[in-house]
């Protein structure tokens, strides 16, 4: 059997990541004391988002649809000290677009109002066909 290459596993990944998300994620993850857990959990959740319909994922605890915002969802990662949120847009064809990364110290209700227009703006380049 051919030795599995990690890049092959994600070759058909249906999750698209924009440069703002990339920058914000690593600005956090590379200095976090909990980066091993965060990165491992991120791999797990990316794999789930790529392979499983988002409606099913939302029945669990890690994924949530933001009810007031059309097509906008979040992924929740809770570490020992922080709440991390990854916002994404999910489309009917199974493609998902990670558009924003946020970290919160402690637990409080989050306001995602600003993310609805931001997510639409950040998803636009993908929808024009770039990267597809």
């Amino acid at each position: 059997m051919k030795r599995l290459d990690i890049r092959d596993i994600f070759a058909g990944c249906r999750v698209h990541i924009n440069e703002d998300f990339y920058r914000d994620f690593f600005a956090f993850a590379d200095r976090s004391a909990e980066q091993d857990y965060v990165k491992k959990k991120t791999v797990q959740l990316l794999m789930q988002l790529s392979e499983t319909p988002v409606q099913i994922l939302c029945k669990g605890g890690s994924f949530e649809k933001l009810s007031d915002y059309r097509d906008l969802y979040l992924i929740r990662i809770e570490t020992m000290t922080l709440n991390l949120r990854m916002l994404f847009i999910a489309e009917e064809d199974g493609q998902a677009y990670l558009v924003a990364f946020e970290e919160y110290a402690g637990k409080f209700a989050s306001n995602y109002e600003k993310y609805s227009p931001l997510a639409v703006k950040r998803t636009r380049p993908f929808r024009k066909g770039a990267g597809k």
Binding site: M1, F10, V43, E51, A130
Partner: protein, 102 residues
């Protein structure tokens, strides 16, 4: 960079420094969690009903569904049996396995 390049770069960087074993573990946890979630959805059960069906506690269901559980082979086989979930049990040597065993 276009979207595909950013995604590939992201996957490369997020797995950089992680051992291959840890990456494969993360993927296995994700696939197991998704399989359990999908099956509960197909059965139309809420978490409590599902816990009773499996003979485990509700917090344990949450652990299974979030990929946070550390189960024994016996427990894993038991849940798969109860949910009629099949999994590939073949274990084979990789063609280009490292001489030192990896």
């Amino acid at each position: 960079m276009n979207g595909k390049d950013v995604t590939a770069a992201f996957v490369g960087r997020v797995t950089q420094g992680m051992s291959r074993r840890k990456v494969l573990e993360a993927i296995a946890r994700g696939r197991m969690a998704s399989a359990i979630l999908t099956r509960r959805s197909e059965l139309g059960m809420d978490r409590l009903e599902f816990a009773r069906f499996l003979g485990i506690s509700e917090p344990e269901v949450i652990e299974w569904e979030s990929g946070e559980c550390d189960v024994t082979i016996a427990e894993f086989c038991d849940v798969c049996e109860k949910l009629s979930l099949a999994f590939d049990m073949s274990i084979t040597l990789e063609d280009d396995f490292p001489a030192n065993g990896g």
